[in-house]
């Protein structure tokens, strides 16, 4: 129906006439004729906006939306303030390209500079890039930036998110480097020391880890540095409001999935790859970085900086091919952090932790339900759960997305968004199924 082409048929004819042509197909004279499509595409006819709206709404309606979400595992249902939804929808932010032309892009550039500063504050690291695709690719890029000629093996904790491990494995397959998975005992990284051979370039740990457990991140970092390797921490940014920052744990690179910072679950994306490092590794960071400078009149100005690291200049010698990142998601994350402020973010972290602990203790009062791993956790935990399928089905029927089935039990999560009443209701349903 539409193609958003504004020119009228008469105008198109005028333009063709100016070119000495009658038909737009004449413009394709270079295309071998045998290759040109002869008939129409085997696609539905175009539709009006009204029809498209109806069809998209019908598709969305085929999904099941849950009022209460007790599942995390890499994507977290935090409350998104209204203003955090509205501002990124401004057309200027939405429809601009990468800010190559600094003079008409100060708004985007400054938003990224502010984002970089906030990420440095959260992680304690010296420098942040403007984002990569998601937390998993951030970990993979971190592994790449830590390698050198002498050290090429990457280690990753087996308690990291399976998608993160798989993504790092894929990137290692690409460049032909070795990846070794460090064993897990009692839900946390174990026996790291034995794997820290002289060819190890970096070790990646996730904090809190996939099972929600808190790793002894400082001790792991000390081991890594003793062996002369680099320490990469993959962190939940919300947790950093109250947990020791990567810098405090000795990390050389901090990465993380930025989705909890104001981005919707959106069935997996777009999300945000957070990446920050020590000053020493600044020029090894991949992707866009915004820097502050001045113009000829001495006015503060922001530009894409340190570009000689990047693919458009370094080509096959660049350590990463990334160009577009997740700028609008970074703007959203910065906006979320500014809206919540330091107290607000700490409140989100504390309440998420408190509610997860409440849920855990209530669930563990039920027969056959117990924590699988000992030790401290943040806002996720694994429990045993008899009649798992029946319990999850009953919760689902009540509009509650239960925990995620994992090896040995179910991985639960709570955020500040769920109320005590919702948690009590969920526990009551579990109890009922277990009793029946």
């Amino acid at each position: 129906m539409g193609s958003y082409v504004p020119s009228t048929p008469a105008e198109r004819q005028q333009m063709l006439a100016a070119l000495g042509m009658e038909d737009a197909l004449q413009l394709y004279a270079d295309v071998p004729e045998a290759m040109l499509l002869t008939g129409p595409l085997d696609l539905p006819a175009g539709k009006s906006e009204l029809q498209v709206r109806g069809e998209m709404e019908a598709l969305a309606a085929q999904n099941t939306r849950y009022g209460t979400i007790l599942r995390g595992a890499g994507a977290y249902d935090h409350y998104i303030p209204s203003i955090v939804k509205y501002i990124p929808a401004k057309e200027e932010f939405l429809t601009a390209y990468t800010p190559y032309q600094a003079e008409i892009s100060q708004g985007i550039l400054q938003s990224i500079f502010e984002y970089q500063t906030m990420i440095c504050e959260l992680t304690g690291m010296d420098v942040s890039n403007a984002s990569v695709y998601d937390g998993a690719t951030a970990a993979a890029e971190a592994a790449a930036m830590c390698r050198d000629r002498k050290r090429s093996v990457t280690l990753i904790s087996g308690a990291a998110h399976p998608d993160v491990i798989n993504t790092v494995r894929t990137y290692c397959y690409g460049t032909g480097h070795a990846l070794r998975v460090v064993p897990v005992k009692d839900g946390v990284t174990d026996a790291l020391k034995a794997l820290l051979t002289p060819d190890v370039s970096s070790f990646i740990v996730q904090q809190p880890n996939f099972f929600g457990q808190l790793e002894d991140a400082k001790a792991l970092g000390a081991l890594v540095h003793e062996a002369g390797a680099q320490y990469v921490m993959s962190c939940n940014p919300i947790s950093l409001a109250i947990l020791a920052s990567p810098a405090e744990c000795g990390a050389d690179v901090a990465v993380g999935e930025g989705q909890p910072l104001g981005l919707p679950l959106g069935w997996g994306g777009p999300y945000l790859g957070i990446m920050a490092a020590t000053q020493k590794l600044m020029r090894k960071l991949p992707g866009r970085i915004v820097g502050q400078t001045t113009d000829a009149e001495g006015r503060r100005a922001f530009v894409l900086s340190l570009q000689a690291r990047e693919q458009h200049i370094r080509r096959e010698k660049a350590s990463s091919n990334i160009c577009s990142n997740e700028a609008l998601c970074a703007l959203t994350a910065g906006l979320y952090l500014a809206t919540m402020g330091p107290e607000g973010l700490q409140e989100v972290a504390r309440q998420s932790m408190a509610k997860a602990h409440y849920l855990c203790s209530e669930l563990c009062k039920l027969d056959g339900v117990a924590r699988v791993y000992p030790g401290a956790f943040f806002h996720e935990f694994v429990t045993t759960l008899p009649r798992q399928d029946a319990v999850l089905a009953a919760l689902s029927k009540a509009g509650i997305l239960g925990g995620l089935p994992v090896d040995g039990g179910v991985l639960w999560c709570a955020t500040e968004k769920v109320t005590k009443a919702e948690l009590d209701r969920a526990v009551a349903i579990v109890k009922e199924v277990l009793a029946g």
Partner: protein, 467 residues
């Protein structure tokens, strides 16, 4: 303008959360953060004003003409945004049970159907988050294919010297040695150079067609045949697909796999540098090597990121594809090409096209003679265009043309816009001969003048610090 930190007032905050209705959970001191959390403290009004002020210092497609070559800055329809903000999409957990995500899966299935038909491919993944990520995924298909056949001696990827930097960078990320081949005078593949580069060590060729100077390589069937004969595979960089969609298909040109930039060709907004989405398609024989995602379950598959991909971007693209349908897709391409040729024709006589012939959706101006005569560079012209209310074209790309300006008007611009733009170009051309001085220091009407990039790189300031 002020940084958000400079607006901060201690103690100021928004009322977002209720107080906690369960008992606080204790946190062992050993795990606790010691360092103060220094985020800005603002009211909601402060936040709103700050970002509104920022938004006034951004130039988007909604602001005016944006002929940024190779970026396909077409209009981003609002209905696509509304579709992507439906709670039935935004509220879905990526690990929700399959039965609860029928709508999401249907979106991917339907988008795959459209894109397979447009590209001439048999299967599609939506996991890659951007064009470069799609290239990575696509070249990994090639690598897995050769590995599965035990042909590990295929260690080289051929890339024309006119290619975008992501192509060689991608090949290197996939462990390949890059063989750069020179382009012929018209920017097309030099068949002799290609023949000389091909051999038993060839893993594949990465190519965009139309190429980076906006010309359709008429030898394309011969090119892909030669690569296949040598045992290599052909990768299509879909950066320029907007010129040919619905008219000719990469699959019919002999390509084996392809990435498409949904944020270029399929009108999803670029967001000031992402999120995009790089759908990757392939012929049937490569299907088993596609990454694991919602549509491609299974152990052993590679995975290029977490979860299914930038799903909400795919939702936007699907809304766009549904709007265009079978007639709208080729109509968009033909008008993109018509607009480019018309604009080139209107500018010709002042600035010179690098290739004086019919172009596809974009064309390159070569300002080297002009610069010699006037001292005004491509950069000066680009910056002067800003003062005329226009976003500059892509500068100094492709590298094979000196003093290049690359223009891609897209199909969503009207004849009036093109006429006005051409008049501005002709006017600047004359100004360069009459009064070049102001052009060297343009732009003049922007919040800042040209930034000192040398200073930015030599003494990097990458975050704000309290004095």
């Amino acid at each position: 303008m002020k940084l958000i930190f400079e607006r901060s007032v201690p103690g100021r905050r928004s009322a977002i959360l209720p107080s906690c209705d369960v008992e606080a959970a204790p946190l062992d001191e050993a795990f606790a953060r010691q360092r103060e959390l220094r985020l800005p403290e603002l009211s909601e009004t402060d936040v709103s004003r700050h970002y509104t002020e920022l938004s006034k210092q951004v130039y988007g497609v909604n602001c005016g003409f944006y002929p940024l070559g190779s970026c396909t800055m077409k209009y981003n329809p609002r209905i696509d945004e509304e579709a992507a903000s439906l709670p039935g999409f935004t509220g879905i957990h990526p690990l929700a049970p399959e039965a609860d995500t029928k709508g999401c899966r249907a979106v991917l299935d339907e988008a795959a159907r459209y894109l397979c038909e447009i590209s001439g491919m048999d299967a599609m993944t939506f996991q890659p988050a951007a064009g470069a990520h799609g290239e990575f995924t696509g070249v990994l298909l090639i690598k897995q294919y050769h590995d599965a056949r035990g042909e590990r001696q295929r260690t080289k990827i051929i890339v024309p010297d006119s290619a975008h930097g992501t192509n060689p960078a991608t090949a290197a990320m996939c462990g390949y040695e890059v063989v750069n081949i020179a382009s012929s005078a018209d920017g097309c593949v030099d068949l002799d150079a290609l023949r000389a580069a091909l051999g038993p060590d060839t893993a594949g060729l990465m190519l965009t067609n139309p190429n980076t100077v906006g010309i359709f390589d008429k030898n394309i069937l011969e090119i892909t045949r030669l690569v296949h004969e040598a045992g290599g595979l052909c990768y299509y960089d879909g950066a320029n697909l907007n010129a040919v969609m619905g008219v000719v298909r990469p699959g019919d040109m002999g390509f084996d796999c392809i990435h498409m930039n949904l944020h270029k060709t399929f009108a999803t907004p670029h967001g000031g540098g992402g999120p995009g989405a790089g759908a990757v398609g392939c012929k049937d024989f490569l299907k088993d090597f596609l990454p694991r995602s919602a549509l491609m379950e299974g152990e052993g598959r590679l995975q290029v990121r977490a979860f299914a991909g930038n799903f909400l971007v795919v939702v936007r693209a699907l809304a766009y594809l549904k709007t265009l349908g079978r007639e709208g897709v080729p109509e968009a391409a033909k008008n993109a090409v018509l607009n480019a040729n018309y604009l080139m024709q209107q500018i010709k006589g002042s600035f010179e096209p690098a290739f004086d012939r019919v172009c596809m959706h974009e064309f390159v101006l070569d300002l080297s003679r002009f610069k010699k005569e006037t001292g005004v560079s491509a950069l000066d012209v680009a910056k002067s265009l800003i003062d005329r209310g226009m976003h500059p074209p892509t500068m100094y790309f492709p590298l094979i043309v000196h003093e290049a300006l690359m223009l891609e008007p897209t199909e969503t611009e009207s004849k009036q816009t093109l006429d006005e733009a051409a008049a501005v170009f002709r006017d600047l051309y004359r100004q360069a001969y009459d009064d070049p001085e102001p052009m060297h220091t343009a732009p003049h009407g922007t919040p800042i003048g040209r930034p000192d990039e040398v200073k930015a790189s030599r003494t990097p300031v990458l975050r704000w610090r309290q004095d």
